[in-house]
């Protein structure tokens, strides 16, 4: 499409603009033509942007997050398709899609131990480990992981993010489908600095009936999320997923 240049070009543009602003001219086709023009300009601008800043997106966590948030505000999804502009020009696609693969692999590897429940911190640590020692491999943040998981959910394999109450506390990732009820998540969220609890503690904290407590506990044991520690004195229940989360928070490596 020949972009108008010179005087005749200006006239042409004026004409088109007039035609467009005319009250009657509301044809979808005219809109489409306008879109097409903007598209070409945008493509050029995106390419120069990419030349200058492609590396920054890959390396700079804060910049990447800013980029993602702006895209979300504007209403575009840079990760929707590998054939999308963003992916092709900036390479954001490969960064996130590879991260997605790594997340799945970590979850599969740890699920036999934690029943498919892992803290975001632990997941991040393990993914970084999987990415290797080079500096750029370490430039992955919590935000990146959450975005990648959001994409993963499309595949319908049960990836869920369990947010803490009032956004205060640990974020947990569930990678095996199993519907956790509000009671279950309430128990999980109450254990911010511990990984185990007793029936007495639940009764004290939530004031639930014994029946209700038993139902919740039984379900989670069945699902492989909860283990029983019967040490003679009292019975403690603990989440292997949270147990390792505690170690990670304390700064131990996994």
């Amino acid at each position: 499409m020949r972009r108008g240049v010179g005087i005749s070009g200006i006239n042409q543009q004026l004409l088109e603009k007039a035609k467009f602003n005319e009250k009657g001219s509301e044809l979808a086709r005219d809109h489409l033509d306008k879109l097409a023009k903007q598209f070409e300009t945008f493509r050029d601008n995106l390419e120069s942007f990419a030349e200058k800043h492609k590396n920054e997106i890959k390396k700079d966590i804060a910049f990447r997050r800013q980029f993602q948030e702006m895209c979300a505000t504007v209403g575009v999804d840079p990760l929707a398709s590998s054939k999308g502009f963003w992916s092709q020009a900036l390479g954001v696609g490969d960064f996130y899609y590879e991260l997605t693969v790594q997340i799945v692999e970590v979850c599969v590897a740890t699920s036999s131990q934690n029943g498919g429940l892992i803290s975001l911190d632990e997941l991040l640590l393990r993914v970084r480990k999987a990415r290797g020692k080079s500096r750029s491999a370490q430039d992955v943040s919590h935000d990146d992981i959450l975005r990648a998981i959001k994409k993963l959910r499309i595949l319908g394999d049960g990836f869920t993010v369990i947010e803490p109450a009032n956004n205060q506390g640990r974020i947990l990732i569930q990678s095996i489908p199993g519907e956790l009820s509000m009671d279950h998540t309430a128990i999980l969220n109450s254990l911010q600095t511990r990984s185990s609890f007793t029936v007495e503690q639940l009764r004290e904290q939530f004031k639930w009936s014994d029946e209700r407590i038993k139902t919740a506990i039984d379900f989670m044991i069945k699902e492989g999320l909860l283990w029983i520690d019967n040490n003679g004195r009292n019975i403690e229940y603990y989440f292997p997923g949270l147990f390792t989360a505690q170690r990670v928070t304390a700064g131990e490596s996994v």
């Binding site: 700079d60 800013q66 702006m70 209403g75 590998s82 696609g93 304390a250 700064g251």
Partner: protein, 380 residues
């Protein structure tokens, strides 16, 4: 560099925002313990604040050149290490008159080191204290760094200045990048608005677009990543149909190894690992998958009753498959999902689904107890 710590009243300055806090943090001068143990550390956009019952101390972020984490060991919990610059400003009154070390370590006795590190690194990039002069410390810092630029090119201060210079350059290029990003986003936003208008017209059937034009429109939406119901009913988008064919041949081989059935995330990993670069997105996979059946490909998408999606070989015979599973259950008296998964090498979710499907066909009966869900051959 503990002499860089100064007393403070803890009040936030104009334009300073609080970012996060953590309890149970002790201050070390270099690696030596100090009297300031187990206090509350607070990160703001301009400073690190620390307080306990007896004292309130601050450390301006402008003197932090670099921060990193030291993992927990036998003798200590995780530590945040801040390397500080040796500035030229007069020393302000603080808890330490002098120090032999170039760094301050914060030991996080109750956890929180990872998050704090991440946030402080973000603040060190943003350098918000440069945006608004807070008291007069900022101006003296910039002044001193230029004088020291000229006079101290050697030794540790030379290295420090170089680091600071690099950080400044990086900061400038990043703020330049933010500006470019802003411009780009403005354009993107305009296009999103036009697309909405067109899409509305299409939905209200007020459009006069030919099918070619509609295809063109869809491709714009796809390229930009604009989510729109119009793209959902994609009647054979070319990219996705050719992708479907490509994936189907890759998956056909893989499915032979996994007993004819595979979850989508498993497929996603295998496909992208095999590709190595130019990876596909989860949406691409799904959009390609929905077309497979109509294209008569040897692999197709199947949605299990729980909503889990999987790939299977088209020529799988459902009834025969379930009968085989029932037979397996019979030969081991009873069967649970993970037993089945281990036995024939399929994921647990799929195994569970297969057992439930066999139950629906009347081939198996369930026994649901706290020890798990088991299935028995149906004697009824």
């Amino acid at each position: 560099m503990a002499d860089r710590l100064a007393w403070t009243d803890g009040q936030l300055h104009v334009g300073e925002v609080m970012i996060t806090s953590q309890n149970g943090v002790s201050i070390n001068d270099g690696s030596e313990k100090t009297d300031y143990q187990k206090g509350l550390i607070t990160l703001t956009s301009h400073r690190i604040l620390w307080q306990d019952k007896s004292a309130q101390i601050e450390l301006p972020l402008s003197v932090v050149i670099f921060s990193e984490k030291k993992d927990a060991s036998l003798t200590s919990k995780a530590r945040l290490i801040c390397t500080l610059s040796r500035g030229q400003e007069p020393k302000r009154p603080g808890p330490f008159a002098s120090s032999r070390h170039d760094e301050i370590q914060f030991e996080f006795r109750e956890g929180g080191c990872n998050d704090f590190l991440r946030l402080i690194q973000e603040e060190l990039v943003k350098k918000r204290w440069l945006l608004q002069p807070v008291k007069s410390t900022t101006t003296t810092t910039t002044m001193s760094s230029t004088t020291s630029d000229r006079s101290h090119r050697t030794g540790i201060s030379g290295i420090e200045n170089h680091l600071q210079h690099q950080l400044n350059v990086q900061h400038q290029s990043i703020s330049g990048a933010f500006q470019d990003l802003n411009k780009l986003m403005q354009q993107a936003k305009e296009m999103v608005n036009i697309s909405k208008t067109i899409a509305t017209k299409i939905q209200e059937k007020r459009n006069d677009l030919t099918s070619d034009e509609t295809i063109r429109f869809r491709s714009y939406l796809l390229s930009l990543g604009i989510d729109n119901p119009v793209t959902k009913e994609s009647a054979g988008n070319q990219y996705h149909t050719s992708l479907a064919k490509e994936l189907s041949s890759v998956l056909e081989k893989a499915l032979k190894d996994t007993n004819g059935i595979m979850t989508l995330s498993d497929a996603y990993c295998r496909i992208n690992r095999a590709r190595g670069y130019e990876l596909i997105s989860p949406e691409d996979l799904l959009n390609a998958a929905v077309h497979m059946e109509e294209l008569n490909l040897p692999v197709r998408l199947r949605v299990l009753s729980s909503g889990t999606k999987s790939f299977e070989l088209t020529n799988r015979n459902e009834k025969k498959d379930l009968q085989e599973i029932a037979n397996l259950a019979e030969s081991s008296i009873s069967m649970s999902a993970d037993q089945l998964a281990n036995l024939i090498g399929i994921p647990v979710i799929v195994a569970r689904e297969r057992l439930i499907a066999a139950e629906t066909y009347g081939l198996l009966c369930r026994d649901d107890s706290i020890e798990g869900l088991r299935f028995y051959p149906n004697q009824f």
